[in-house]
């Protein structure tokens, strides 16, 4: 905005209205309604709003209607009294703020407020009338569960905050507003439990958000890249979720939630490596199956990162490690294949990545066509033509399927990318290369931090109480304490003791 807009309102109605219209570039969706009393002459008041940002029904019923009824009487009063009466008495809107500067008025209009100007008074009233179309609350598309809430965040900030509020009806839930992006002026809300979250983390979060000075924030992904701890890594140091229940669960563990207007993906911090292998469903299903599934996901993560490289390394360098019948069968399959294993694997992996990307980008109607092409032409036909071995197809497809098991897409992506590095290491240095790569990866992982928390917590540093909710999930009544380090130690106790259900309650000692 120009320096011109820094000035205060003049109090001269026509001049102020004209300034607003000029600054907004005579926009076609700007509505300026000048109200004149029964007697002809200068208008008494003006109502200004963006018709694309407000709920016009509300504007008409709660602002224009009462204002028009009272207009004649307002004309008689002193401008100051009239202004006060409009503010206190006439406008039937919950949130009405006084604005004195031109740029404040502009911001309010762009935020979906309706601005009321009174002749002779150097000030304006901004009534919150935000409206406009938004999607209804629907089922989550990327983080689905079989049991548990089926609601998902939407693009509307108000709706999203209300989805959280309705789940945590505590007076200690704090919602702090931020405006991000010089031009987009995107609203964002930082949500945390005042007693549970670590004050240090909240302060750090606030500071990092405050430092953001870019011209646009169109998705929480922008924010994530601007506030994350490590850039040169494929591992995410912030979690995103579109599930209000998962977000609330995290908030109740002491994490900080950031909802950005315009996207259904909210951000969570601080996070640890293991939290990307946990689905909110783990807490809704029985603990035994949850534990089993968590271990399964962890194995799947390793498979999706290491299987192709192990296959390459063993078939190229260390055939002696295979049991003899398997070795013979593999050798027979590979007999007619013209490429070395590493090239064969890279070829198939890239083919699969192309198929996967095509599946995301192509129009929905031609979806089935792609699966036919993918499954039949590239799978079976490639083997029959002798271009790749059947074993390689099995390896590549199992790797791909394993990758989809990981609940957090951004962690799955890390495995998906690192896989290629591992394949090259396996193809050049065999098992030694893979071990080296794994060691580099482990060193990298233990060096990462997310908002001051070690990424590999609670495995390194070992935090015994936190191990209850990592690869295993113990029943709820056993999780008496909140995860240490993430939550405020002064509010560590989460569940009362003696919650274990039993037919006859034992006497408490």
């Amino acid at each position: 905005m120009t320096a011109e807009t820094e000035r205060a309102l003049t109090g001269h109605l026509a001049e102020d209205v004209e300034a607003v219209v000029r600054e907004l570039g005579d926009s076609c969706d700007l509505v300026v309604r000048e109200l004149t009393g029964k007697e002809e002459g200068e208008p008494e008041a003006a109502v200004v709003y963006m018709k694309t940002m407000v709920d016009e029904e509300t504007v008409m019923r709660s602002i224009l209607d009462p204002l028009m009824d009272e207009l004649d009487r307002l004309g008689m009063e002193e401008p100051g009294d009239a202004f006060r009466r409009v503010h206190k008495d006439i406008l039937r809107i919950g949130t009405v703020n006084e604005r004195t500067k031109l740029n404040e008025v502009l911001c309010s209009i762009l935020d979906g407020d309706t601005v009321v100007l009174i002749a002779g008074k150097a000030g304006a009233l901004a009534a919150s009338t935000i409206g406009g179309e938004s999607r209804a609350v629907e089922e989550p598309t990327s983080q689905t569960v079989t049991r548990g809430p089926k609601e998902s965040f939407t693009e509307n900030l108000q709706t999203n905050v209300s989805l959280v509020r309705r789940r945590i009806r505590s007076p200690l839930l704090r919602v702090e507003a931020f405006k991000l992006g010089r031009h987009t002026q995107t609203n964002a809300c930082m949500i945390y439990m005042q007693n549970i979250a670590q004050p240090k983390v909240v302060q750090e979060f606030r500071q990092r958000l405050g430092k953001i000075d870019v011209d646009s924030i169109l998705d929480s992904g922008y924010v994530e890249e601007l506030i994350q701890d490590a850039t040169w890594t494929s591992f995410p140091t912030l979690q995103n979720t579109e599930r209000p229940d998962a977000a609330c669960g995290a908030v109740m563990e002491g994490k900080v939630l950031l909802i950005v207007d315009g996207t259904p993906f909210a951000l969570l911090a601080p996070v640890t490596f293991i939290s990307f292998f946990q689905s909110s469903e783990d807490y809704y299903q029985r603990y035994d199956i949850s534990t089993f599934l968590r271990i399964l996901r962890f194995c799947a993560f390793f498979i999706s990162m290491f299987l192709p490289s192990l296959y390459i390394a063993i078939t190229t360098f260390h055939q002696e490690m295979l049991p003899t019948p398997l070795l013979i069968s593999l050798a027979a399959q590979r007999e007619g294949v013209p490429f070395p294993a590493i090239l064969e694997a890279l070829l198939m992996e890239i083919t699969f990545e192309v198929l996967r990307e095509a599946g995301v980008r192509m129009p929905r109607v031609i979806g089935p066509a792609i699966s036919i092409v993918g499954a039949l032409v590239l799978g079976q036909a490639a083997v029959q033509a002798g271009l790749v071995s059947a074993a390689m197809i099995i390896v590549v497809s199992f790797t791909a399927i394993s990758n989809f098991v990981i609940p957090a897409l951004n962690m799955a992506i890390a495995a998906r990318l690192l896989r290629f590095g591992m394949m090259i290491l396996g193809g050049t240095l065999g098992l030694f290369g893979i071990m080296s790569g794994m060691m580099i990866l482990l060193i990298h992982l233990v060096s990462l931090r997310s908002f001051g928390i070690s990424y590999m917590t609670p495995f390194s540093p070992i935090v015994w109480p936190n191990l209850k909710d990592t690869l295993v999930r113990v029943p709820w009544w056993l999780m008496k304490k909140r995860p240490a380090l993430i939550s405020n130690p002064r509010q560590a106790v989460r569940n009362a003791s003696g919650q274990r259900p039993s037919p006859r309650r034992k006497k408490r000692p």
Binding site: L322, M439, V446, S447, M456, F459, S460
Partner: protein
């Protein structure tokens, strides 16, 4: 200054003590009585640890070896002493680097040049050292439970394959105790029990000294137990051939067969070997970088380059694996390592006890030496 927890210290001591040692027959010349040799070496190492190394730390819990020697020996002699330890750490790192590269060539990649394998190892270790002491100790903490699990699985599968013949351990002490003691002292102290001298560089990072002692001793005992078990296992499976094999545990593993399904566990041994040697070489690398940066008063990360180059060139200097083994196990462990692991620590402790801090002379040395 505390940057590591006692779990991390314990994990580091444990993995460092293990290193690659369970793969080999310690006190090999004692033949079937090697396990007694391990016990003797363990007892002597424990004495050294409790009576010499830990007291040095307890007197000056805030100082590492370099600071201690500067403070108590004055700037000139102290620097000389420190420099000798820099060389010792570098040489130990060189041995580990070279030894491991040779095994990789022997077992995994017969046609890959040594230069290249050394470079890869150097890169991984430098990466760990670059991240500093805290990350390295956290890495050991992360690896420790998996290593224990893998050893347990390996030993269990060896037990389950009916390979163990306890009668191979008999008769006990056929030629009396003398050859066993001769095989154990000082070889088994030098490798691996006396190598604890390295932790004089790291203990100061672990906080309160009574906790340091407890964690260290606990890890030392656990590591010794595992080494002892491995030793008994190797002799009772391979018998008289144990001392001939290059990597005895690898040979045993290749004999494992349970049902038709579980066989060829060699990759497990390789992984254990890799992690063990990696931890050891990186610990020495880290100690060398720490001590050199302390000695020359340069930033920690600036010292990585020179130390890395020295280790790399040093590892290439051995003409062959055989030469490396000969120098290491016939000369170093008998003549050279005891100087750094036994003689110098005892000297340092003696001087520390005689020159109690507070005399004006010491304070002057302190001003010149530390700031």
């Amino acid at each position: 200054m505390q940057v590591t927890s006692r779990y991390q210290l314990a994990a580091a001591v444990f993995l460092f003590q293990l290193g690659s040692s369970p793969m080999f027959l310690l006190a090999g010349p004692a033949g079937r009585d090697a396990w007694i040799g391990v016990l003797i070496g363990f007892a002597a190492g424990l004495l050294l640890l409790v009576a010499v190394m830990l007291p040095i730390h307890r007197i000056e819990p805030e100082m590492n070896l370099i600071e201690v020697s500067r403070r108590y020996f004055g700037p000139w002699f102290g620097s000389l002493l420190s420099f000798s330890y820099v060389l010792y750490f570098i040489y130990q790192a060189v041995r580990n680097f070279r030894e491991f590269s040779d095994w990789v060539i022997l077992y995994l990649l017969p046609s890959t040049p040594l230069l290249f394998i050394l470079a890869v190892l150097m890169f991984i270790s430098s990466y760990a050292v670059w991240h500093g002491v805290e990350v390295f100790f956290r890495l050991t903490e992360l690896l420790c439970p998996w290593i224990v699990l893998m050893y347990a699985a390996l030993f269990a599968s060896i037990l389950a394959s009916h390979l163990i013949h306890p009668e191979l351990l008999e008769p006990v002490l056929e030629h009396g105790i003398r050859p066993v003691v001769a095989a154990a002292l000082p070889e088994v102290i030098s490798f691996p029990f006396g190598e604890m001298v390295l932790f004089l560089m790291f203990w100061k990072f672990a906080g309160a000294s009574h906790r340091v002692s407890r964690a260290t001793l606990l890890a030392y005992l656990s590591a010794a137990t595992l080494l002892f078990a491995a030793n008994v296992l190797i002799v009772s499976v391979l018998g008289p051939f144990a001392d001939v094999s290059v990597i005895p545990l690898m040979q045993i593993t290749s004999m494992v067969q349970i049902g038709e399904a579980i066989e060829r566990l060699d990759p497990v041994v390789l992984l254990l070997l890799f992690v063990g040697v990696f931890i050891k070489q990186t610990a020495y690398f880290m100690a060398a970088v720490l001590s050199l940066s302390e000695l020359l008063r340069i930033r920690f990360r600036f010292a990585i380059g020179p130390v890395g180059v020295m280790i790399y060139l040093g590892a290439l200097a051995f003409r062959s694996y055989m030469q490396q083994v000969r120098i290491g196990f016939k000369l170093n462990v008998v003549y050279h390592f005891p100087i750094f692991q036994i003689a110098l620590p005892i000297l340092i402790l003696a001087v520390m006890l005689i020159r109690s801090p507070g005399t004006p002379k010491i304070r002057r040395a302190d001003d010149g030496g530390i700031r």
